[in-house]
């Protein structure tokens, strides 16, 4: 075949192309841009340059030198791109068949115009052709090969950020629009459609034009063989210009609403309003106030000018010949915006939990933590060898599920852990209500310190909030191991030692007995402790207010779930500062103070009643703890492993003090360990709030920190001790493996069930619990004293267990019961009824208390489904003038302020995000 015959027809009779170059303060790029234009294989028939704001730089001089005075037109500052092109065309010497639009910061490949004309003339209905645009100066990164817009008004190129050009998009295709940089547009189409909309001076003018082209029954094509290199001077802020807040968003909203038709116009209007509100909130969360202002300005600009919108829509209707549905293939999937949103959320969360500084820019720029690890072997190896830590975590998850056999119902409860409510709305009601009676006597006490956290985090589990504690407890080991491993990356490069350490830490959480007993506070605190250590370390090294907020947030969460964790943290930080001879950074102090402030009044009460520091989330039921338990990192009670299993860690911790090279870091770890030990030892001496009599408060958190600190000391010295010789290293490794293997085997073999169970054992006979009435429980006898509890329904749900009536009310009620047992009378029964008691339950009816209570008038014996117990129902109506305690009317407001405090701390902890305005340059 003859080569001549393969050439496009236009080569023999080239169309008249008028190139319009628009420049605005472009002297920095114009020399190279003009030089590239001079090397074009096929030159336009005529050049016209429009110098916008000529007095601001020397662009005009450069243009005149290159093109001649007759081909340069000046335009006043503020002239939009479309108007500038229009002005340039007016000054052209003759009519154009094709118009080639050029930017001053885009250099063109010599064959660009040729390739554009090749594609433009390939079909009659092609009206617009755009080149492949690559980044200048890298020249390799693809910027776009056609563009479109999502339903949310987001510009979409379909490319990954930083995607290199390897020819993967080198085929011409129909697109909604192409960038005006290098756009070749047929003149008749340009005139028929009126060119670029003057209402879009900078952004989305190309998308709008392409949309109108498509509705006019014409096509916009890409011509990948045509290449230009774009500096994106405006987007990269290398071109000085006054940025108007929200200008890009305004353009997007205007473009979409002006072009959408029928129902979609109204739908998009609503969507933009709501979407902008959400974006404003998100901007505020990410501390991007400028972005939020821009959103508001964009809405105001578009919706406050309905006449302009009507005119724009009328103009587009006049030129439209094709239905919207016939061009829908030019738009991206409806799911794409949400995929981008998910990416942003994942990156934001990752930024909070990872030690490394992460900028939340870009999309699909990172992956989950488990995959974010160094690749240790060749890619050709199997997945589990390439990602050993991810594999380890997966194994831990599987073991956790095995250990949770019998608890796969998705809910957990124990004598320590009250069952979760039926709906997360109950937690919100507990927060806001002025009276809470779920725990017995009506009380107006301040909500549990951790209630805001579970109420907020529980939202995704709205109708099954039990999944939240279930997830935390069942997956406690892998979660703790994961956070520990993240922290481990900060403090050591020894991969194997770090993995052993992280697994040991995870197993330690279960080994304390905290999981099996349902000690949610300890588990949460231990899972978050590495994160807290992480941000504290960073705050000491590179203090910042965001770090301060992160310290405050994590310390607050730890503290509200396990207040003893606050004591441990304070002692540890103080000791650390002393050992390191550091002055406390004000950011660190601010973080600690913020944590204490946001914890709330019921948490502050611990300063007045120090024994309550050991009252964690849940019922403060004690255990019989020995010094050996504490020494072995256990909390005592059911589910705790054997204390001698951790003696290897003790030995390693002591040996870690020997190497001189790591002595400083090891000393810091010892300080942390001792902090836990001291707080645990004190807790051992504190009587448990909820008995049983003689038991001491749960100290598992402190003892776990003790062992974790020693383990960390061993980890820090691992490199040095390994130099003592192969045999010694082997021996130390074996010693280090004793705990994770032994305690891990214990954890899996025993399981975490018991006393942890799927459902809460009803405290009172089932029929009383089901009636949702308030029952007085009386145990014991007159000689040895009686213990009372007031149970509402099935008992309090998680979060209600801290609701306590005022001390004087409790004392008064105890006196009523004492009087009832001592001298049963109608007055005593009336007092009971007035306190809200509707039934009395004696688990042991053989006591003298039962005999006496039976004489009380106004009590009717009722059946009990439990042998040896007795139940009476109170037949007396409460008095009319009952004094039900009620918090002040300001309670909801105060709780709101409290929640705002949490919100402010959380927002402050989120790494700031510079709003990457993908502004296109003129």
């Amino acid at each position: 075949m003859d080569e001549e015959e393969q050439l496009p027809a236009w080569r023999s009779s080239p169309p008249r192309v008028v190139a319009v170059l628009v420049s605005r303060r472009g002297e920095r790029w114009l020399p190279q841009t003009l030089a590239s234009l001079a090397q074009l294989e096929h030159l336009p028939a005529e050049w016209v340059a429009v110098d916008v704001a000529p007095q601001e730089d020397a662009s005009g001089t450069l243009l005149r030198e290159a093109l001649g005075d007759a081909h340069v037109v000046e335009a006043p500052a503020g002239t939009g791109f479309g108007d500038a092109v229009r002005l340039g065309l007016e000054h052209a010497s003759g009519p154009a068949e094709w118009i080639w639009l050029l930017h001053d910061d885009a250099i063109v490949d010599p064959g660009a115009l040729t390739a554009l004309l090749d594609e433009a003339t390939s079909a009659e209905d092609i009206a617009v052709v755009g080149p492949k645009i690559r980044e200048w100066p890298s020249l390799q990164r693809l910027l776009e090969v056609g563009r479109t817009v999502t339903g949310t008004g987001r510009l979409e190129t379909g490319l990954e950020p930083g995607e290199p050009d390897a020819g993967q998009h080198d085929w011409p295709r129909d697109v909604l629009a192409v960038n005006t940089a290098g756009m070749l547009v047929r003149n008749d189409a340009w005139e028929r459609l009126g060119g670029l909309d003057p209402a879009l001076p900078l952004f989305f003018d190309d998308v709008d034009f392409g949309w109108r082209v498509a509705r006019a029954g014409l096509r916009t094509r890409t011509a990948p063989p045509a290449v230009i290199f774009h500096a994106e001077a405006s987007a990269r802020r290398t071109r000085r210009r006054r940025v108007v807040a929200g200008e890009q968003r305004r353009a997007a909203v205007y473009t979409v609403l002006a072009n959408e038709t029928g129902f979609r116009f109204w739908w998009q209007s609503v969507r933009f309003v709501l979407g902008s509100l959400l974006r404003m909130i998100a901007d505020l969360v990410f501390k991007d106030t400028r972005g939020a202002r821009g959103e508001a300005a964009a809405l105001r600009s578009v919706f406050a000018a309905p006449r302009r919108m009507r005119g724009a829509r009328r103009d587009r209707a006049a030129t439209a010949t094709v239905a919207r549905r016939d061009i829908r293939h030019l738009f991206p999937s409806a799911w794409l915006p949400y995929q981008h949103g998910w990416d942003v959320m994942v990156e934001s969360v990752q930024a909070m939990v990872r030690p490394e500084a992460v900028q939340t820019l870009g999309r699909r720029a990172s992956s989950l933590d488990v995959l974010d690890e160094e690749i240790v072997v060749e890619d050709a190896d199997r997945w589990y060898r390439r990602y050993p830590w991810a594999t380890t975590l997966l194994v831990l998850v599987l073991l956790a599920l095995i250990a949770a056999r019998g608890l796969w119902t998705g809910s957990v409860a124990s004598p320590v852990l009250p069952a979760s409510p039926d709906s997360v709305a109950d937690w919100w009601r507990d927060l806001m209500a002025r009276t809470v009676d779920g725990a017995g006597l009506p009380a107006s006490s301040w909500p549990a310190p951790y209630l805001p956290v579970i109420a907020l985090v529980g939202l995704p589990f709205a109708f099954a909030p039990g999944l939240l504690p279930w997830t935390i407890l069942v997956l406690a080991v892998p979660l703790a191991a994961m956070t520990a491993h993240r922290f481990g990356r900060l403090i050591t490069d020894h991969r194997v030692a770090r993995m052993i350490w992280a697994v040991s830490y995870g197993v330690l959480v279960a080994g304390t007995g905290a999981v099996a007993q349902g000690r949610l506070g300890t588990v949460v605190a231990l899972v978050l402790a590495p994160l807290l250590a992480n941000v504290v370390t960073h705050t000491l090294v590179t203090p910042s207010w965001t770090r301060a907020a992160q310290v405050g947030l994590w310390l607050a969460v730890v503290s509200v779930f396990a207040p003893a964790g606050f004591l441990i943290a304070i002692v540890a930080i103080a000791g650390l500062l002393i050992v390191a001879r550091l002055r406390p950074p004000r950011e660190l102090v601010a973080g600690v103070v913020a944590a204490a402030l946001v914890a709330g009044p019921s948490w502050w009460a611990r300063f007045l009643h120090p024994s309550l520091w050991w009252w964690e989330a849940g019922v403060p039921r004690g255990v019989d703890t020995t010094a050996l338990d504490i020494l072995g990192g256990l909390g005592g009670g059911p589910g705790a492993t054997l204390p001698w299993l951790s003696f290897g860690v003790l030995v390693l911790g002591v040996l870690a003090l020997v190497p001189r090279a790591t002595r400083y870091e090891v000393s810091v770890s010892w300080v942390v360990a001792l902090s836990g030990l001291v707080i645990a030892a004190i807790g051992m001496l504190v009587p448990a709030v909820a008995g049983p009599p003689g038991s001491s408060a749960w100290s598992g958190l402190g003892s776990a920190i003790w062992i974790a600190g020693l383990g960390t000391a061993a980890l820090l010295a691992a490199g040095e001790t390994a130099r003592a010789g192969r045999r010694v290293a082997l021996g130390l490794t074996v010693l280090a493996l004793v705990f994770p293997l032994g305690a891990g085997a214990w954890w899996v073999a025993r399981g975490i069930e018991g006393p942890l169970a799927s459902t809460a054992e009803p405290t009172v006979p089932a029929y009383l619990a089901d009636q949702d009435i308030t029952t007085l429980m009386v145990s014991g006898d007159i000689e040895d004293g009686v213990t009372i509890d007031v149970v509402h329904g099935r008992g309090p749900h998680l979060g209600q267990e801290t609701a306590r009536a005022a001390p004087e009310r409790r004392d008064d009620f105890a006196a009523v019961v004492a009087r009832l047992v001592a001298e049963p009378s109608s007055a005593s029964v009336q007092d009971l009824a007035d306190a809200g008691v509707q039934a009395i339950y004696l688990p042991d009816a053989s006591t003298d208390a039962a005999v006496r209570i039976s004489a009380a008038p106004g009590l009717a014996p009722a059946g009990s489904d439990r042998p040896g117990s007795r139940v009476w129902t109170v037949e007396v109506e409460p008095s009319d003038d009952i004094d039900t305690p009620e918090a002040s009317a300001a309670r909801p407001v105060l709780v709101g302020v409290w929640l705002l405090g949490w919100g402010a701390l959380a927002i402050g902890a989120i790494p700031g995000r510079g709003r990457a305005e993908q502004e296109e340059e003129l």
């Binding site: 050996l628 030892a681 009372i788 509890d789 106004g858």
Partner: protein
């Protein structure tokens, strides 16, 4: 060799110190006293007094109360004569029983039935009115011709009351004829003849257990044959291994009736808390076997002091003194408390105060009906012995006596003509033992 202590070893030393301290210091202090019972002032006292021909009710208190409600049951008719809480007052019996409820913190209200039980043995009756029955024991009832024992159960409350009856005879536990539980409506007075519980039992014991509501119980014992005269028997406390039983002096036949409700034979040693010799074992009664589930009867020699029964199994007992035309029943005594005990002065009143342990002192104060003190006597009670004093030796014209002697036991013997009555001197209900109530068994 010189050992150099460097700071790096300080951390383990601190850790070891903490561990040692935690191990050595007692983990949690347990203060038993914190859970010991507390004493509460009684705010309201209700007692019932069986009515009968020739009987009247005396009402009084340790200190003036706030209000009194006296009703004749079952009609609920008010008895105005008894409704002054600041006086020692009397009224004739009315209805089937009189119920008195007196309020006032620590008032210590008490009532007594006195008089001659006309038509029911015609003997002298002086006995405390009954307070709420939790677990009352009566030994010495008879269900034979000539011995008419009548169990009087009263419900002074506003709601129904339920009691359960159990009975034992000389040959073993008795099956109650009919239902062994009795339900009484509010204000109802139920008189149950011993013969309705079990037929032809010469000596029997009855236990009254309150299951629900308020109920009081007493036994009106009367006879015209071997048992002659009348007596209102006050409930004895639950069986115990050591029991102090009132005993009457004077000429007559004496017997001790003992109930062993257990399942093993009780071997009982019967002693007297003598006025001169202290505690001494009665001749032939150093080891009296009482078969399980039976009531045993032994004759007593003449004694002039309360009896002390020591047994290896819980027992309860009543002493019976049978005179020419009247009988006296001595039931178990309970130790006096701080705020004293009341007894009315009726005819020839003789108070005996005994101690089962160390020597001590008791104070007897006499009052007139206006609650004015007339005089006071201090009694030195010998170790394991007793001391008797006539009311007239304390003061003339007294309406009642207040006996104070914590840990002592007291009985009153009344005589008028050939009538005789024996009454336990019971601590006035001024205070009640209340349990220490603590929170924290479940939530906090």
């Amino acid at each position: 060799m010189k050992i150099q202590i460097t700071p790096r070893f300080l951390a383990p030393v601190v850790a070891a110190a903490v561990i040692v301290v935690a191990a050595v210091v007692p983990s949690v202090s347990r203060d038993a006293d914190e859970r010991s019972p507390e004493t509460l002032d009684v705010d309201a006292t209700t007692y019932t007094c069986p009515s009968g021909d020739g009987l009247s009710v005396l009402a009084g208190q340790v200190s003036p109360g706030d209000s009194v409600s006296a009703r004749a049951l079952p009609d609920d008719a008010e008895i105005a004569d008894l409704e002054d809480p600041a006086d020692w007052r009397a009224a004739g019996s009315a209805g089937e029983a009189v119920a008195v409820t007196q309020t006032g913190s620590g008032s210590g209200a008490a009532g007594f039935v006195t008089g001659n039980a006309d038509g029911s043995g015609d003997g002298l009756v002086v006995a405390p009115c009954a307070t709420r029955a939790d677990d009352d024991w009566f030994t010495g009832l008879g269900a034979v011709d000539g011995h008419d024992s009548q169990l009087v159960i009263v419900n002074p409350g506003d709601g129904p009351a339920v009691v359960r009856l159990s009975a034992w005879g000389e040959s073993g536990a008795l099956a109650i004829a009919g239902d062994d539980t009795i339900t009484l409506d509010a204000g109802e007075v139920r008189r149950v003849a011993a013969s309705d519980l079990a037929a032809a039992e010469t000596t029997m014991a009855v236990r009254v257990q309150r299951l629900r509501g308020e109920a009081t119980a007493q036994v009106l014992d009367a006879g015209s044959s071997d048992v002659r005269g009348s007596e209102l028997m006050t409930a004895s406390a639950a069986p115990a291994r050591e029991v102090v039983v009132a005993s009457a002096d004077g000429e007559g036949a004496r017997a001790l009736l003992m109930t062993n409700p257990g399942e093993e034979t009780a071997n009982v040693r019967v002693s007297a808390l003598g006025a001169d010799n202290g505690t001494y074992v009665l001749e032939g009664l150093d080891d009296v076997p009482v078969e399980p589930g039976t009531v045993a009867r032994v004759d007593l020699p003449a004694v002039d002091a309360p009896l002390l029964l020591s047994a290896d199994q819980p027992v309860t007992a009543t002493s019976r003194w049978q005179g020419e035309n009247d009988l006296a029943l001595g039931t178990s005594l309970t130790a006096l408390e701080d705020r004293g005990a009341l007894l009315p002065v009726v005819a020839d009143t003789r108070l005996t105060v005994a101690s089962t342990g160390r020597a001590g002192q008791a104070t007897v104060e006499a009052f007139d009906t206006d609650m004015n003190s007339l005089g006071e006597q201090t009694l030195d009670i010998p170790e394991g012995g007793s001391l008797a004093i006539g009311a007239g030796e304390v003061a003339d014209g007294a309406a009642y006596l207040l006996v104070t002697g914590p840990g002592m036991y007291a009985q009153a013997r009344y005589a008028e003509g050939d009538g005789i009555a024996l009454a336990p001197v019971l601590a006035a209900p001024t205070a009640v033992l209340a349990p220490h109530v603590s929170w924290g068994g479940r939530w906090h």
